[in-house]
Chain length 368, copies 2
């Protein structure tokens, strides 16, 4: 296979063809012309005011309940530092985003992993754990088009989760970067909008709707908590990139974001379909997956006994890369993998899934 | 004094008239056109590669020894988190940058404050402390046009500091954002360039040479340390703003930075002179200060017994704002203040110092 370049399903990142490069250039030019002082001077740690206003409007919360950061992982880091002490129990989904897992482990949190089902977090299992005495400080939940599981949390479960949080006094961290990328079905309300007990902190990002390199994310939540986090942000970096945030503000306010979202959705919808078709064609019953209603990711279960480590290595030799299921879990996931279809063209998807199937059959043949 | 607007000597920030707005717009346009993938995609935590290359070239170190961050305070935070455990001794200058003081206190460092003289840190006093058993992990030093003291560390002291660091096994943190803004006299070599024992970590920023709102700073230091900090940065925010860094890279590589530095230096030189003249004219022997050879700040000692808190309040009533000396010290500084002349026009300087002198005389009159 010399000379053939690798196809990567590994990174949850958009390909350049679905980034609105010309509109970003135009937004930067307008932002820098109309408000050079705002873009080029020190700002406040809360973020660029016109962007805060736009985000607050989008979520129908006061601006005082929002902080815009250098990417949403930075927001997560502030929130975790603020709420989680070593030994504190934190509910995570199983599987969950590998960087979240790592960040919480680094902080010394006691992780309580609750399985994810077709309609999101198994709230019954969480309720049982709470009844048995678990006292979490925080529950991290990715409600829409889950990374890595691809599933979406049902409305009923959203409501029950808020009830449990209120009753047992923990914070729901609603980590929602993919919400705008729904291909089909009806959008569900955010837990932030359903909550009237200050139990929810919402995080999102412009990485999936504008571009990742701009590094703009945000938190919206209870005012007292946001105030504390703004203080930590001031002490950490004075202010986030006003240049980045002024471009995003202009991109949003001009409506360019809506056409960018359309472009991204259309492309990812096609890529999801192509991935699902290719998996069915190439692997048939050997590949179990939930077709996500939006977002970047598909979680694929291969037959029990499949050795994910060996498959990853063999797949690399065949020129295709993915992330092993075990990376997203404290235990288990050996026969699963995550496919990110966000950064590959339809033709690459066909090729890549073909190579994956070859690798799978080579391994299965060796086992037989 | 109704209707008169406040004049602020408080914030170390450039006024908009000395920011190269048109050149920044042009640099953004070129950066986004020539490398949209680099500007708009996720990068690595090390920073935007062409910028790392430029910084590495400027300091004659390998790129592996550089990390570019969202402003240099973020770099400081990474470094402090990495090197300083609660209870560790850290050498600071007295006075020093108030945010550094705060960051180190928050980390639980044991602060060893060493006075600053006309030629910078009193190295003899540090040597005595080391002889008496002090075992610092880190010494934070602002070598050029000190914030807030305005002084510059002599070449001899730079050399002695590195010797002490090597001998007593501590890291010198050379915090050097103002180096490029020298109005007169010969530039001195950085401690980074003088060090051959991996004892120096150097930090700087483009806030003073490009603009603050872009939030781009960097560290250059021992490769192993930079590697660790890159890892922490990955875990914190994946990558810094590639949009900001690509603009800075283009601004630097095109040479726009050199003309920007000239503009800033010329304006600040005039502002420094105007401030010094106004202080002499308005306060005469009551104001003691070292005329800085560059940078943003002047440290003004008023007669012993001047109550800085009262002066600050009275000055506010007269429509002029500054930062009290006590903010930059663990103890002392009651009769001193910091004047930042970076964000005010020459006419404002005359007015502002006039108001300060009125406030001072009002207070002195009340005391007499």
């Amino acid at each position: 296979m010399a000379g053939q370049s690798d196809i990567s399903f590994a990174r949850g990142a958009p390909s350049l063809d679905i980034i609105a490069v010309d509109e970003l250039k135009a937004a930067a030019d307008r932002a820098f012309s109309s408000d050079p002082k705002g873009a080029f001077s020190y700002g406040t740690a809360a973020g660029y005011a016109p962007l805060l206003e736009w985000i607050a409007g989008r979520h129908e919360v006061p601006e005082e309940q929002v902080i815009a950061t250098n990417g949403s992982m930075q927001a997560d880091a502030f929130l975790f530092d603020h709420l989680v002490q070593p030994g504190d129990t934190v509910v995570i989904e199983a599987p969950t985003y590998d960087r979240t897992l790592l960040a919480l482990q680094k902080l010394g949190a006691e992780l309580l992993a609750i399985p994810v089902e077709v309609d999101g977090l198994e709230v019954d299992a969480l309720e049982r754990a709470l009844s048995s005495g678990a006292r979490p400080k925080l529950a991290h939940v990715i409600p829409n088009f889950h990374n890595p599981a691809g599933v979406t949390l049902s409305l009923d479960k959203r409501r029950r989760l808020i009830e449990l949080a209120t009753e047992h006094d923990f914070v729901v961290f609603e980590d929602d970067p993919y919400a705008e990328l729904r291909f089909e079905g009806e959008p569900l309300p955010t837990m932030l909008s359903l909550d009237d007990s200050d139990s929810v902190v919402y995080a999102s990002s412009f990485s999936k709707t504008v571009c990742p390199g701009i590094r703009v994310g945000y938190l919206a939540g209870p005012q007292a908590l946001i105030k504390d986090i703004r203080k930590t942000a001031t002490e950490t970096y004075i202010s986030p990139s006003m240049v980045s945030q002024s471009i995003v503000a202009e991109f949003c306010r001009s409506g360019a974001i809506e056409s960018s979202i359309s472009t991204v959705k259309e492309a990812l919808h096609e890529r999801r379909d192509r991935t699902a078709e290719a998996l069915e064609r190439e692997l048939g019953d050997d590949a179990g997956f939930v077709k996500p209603e939006g977002g970047y990711f598909m979680w694929v279960d291969l037959p029990d006994g499949t050795d994910g480590d060996a498959l990853e290595m063999t797949a690399r030799q065949h020129g295709v890369i993915f992330v092993k299921g075990t990376d997203f879990l404290l235990e288990g996931g050996e026969s699963s993998l995550r496919i990110a279809y966000s950064g590959v063209t339809p033709a690459e998807i066909d090729d890549g899934v073909g190579r994956l199937a070859e690798a799978f059959r080579e391994l299965a043949g060796a086992r037989a």
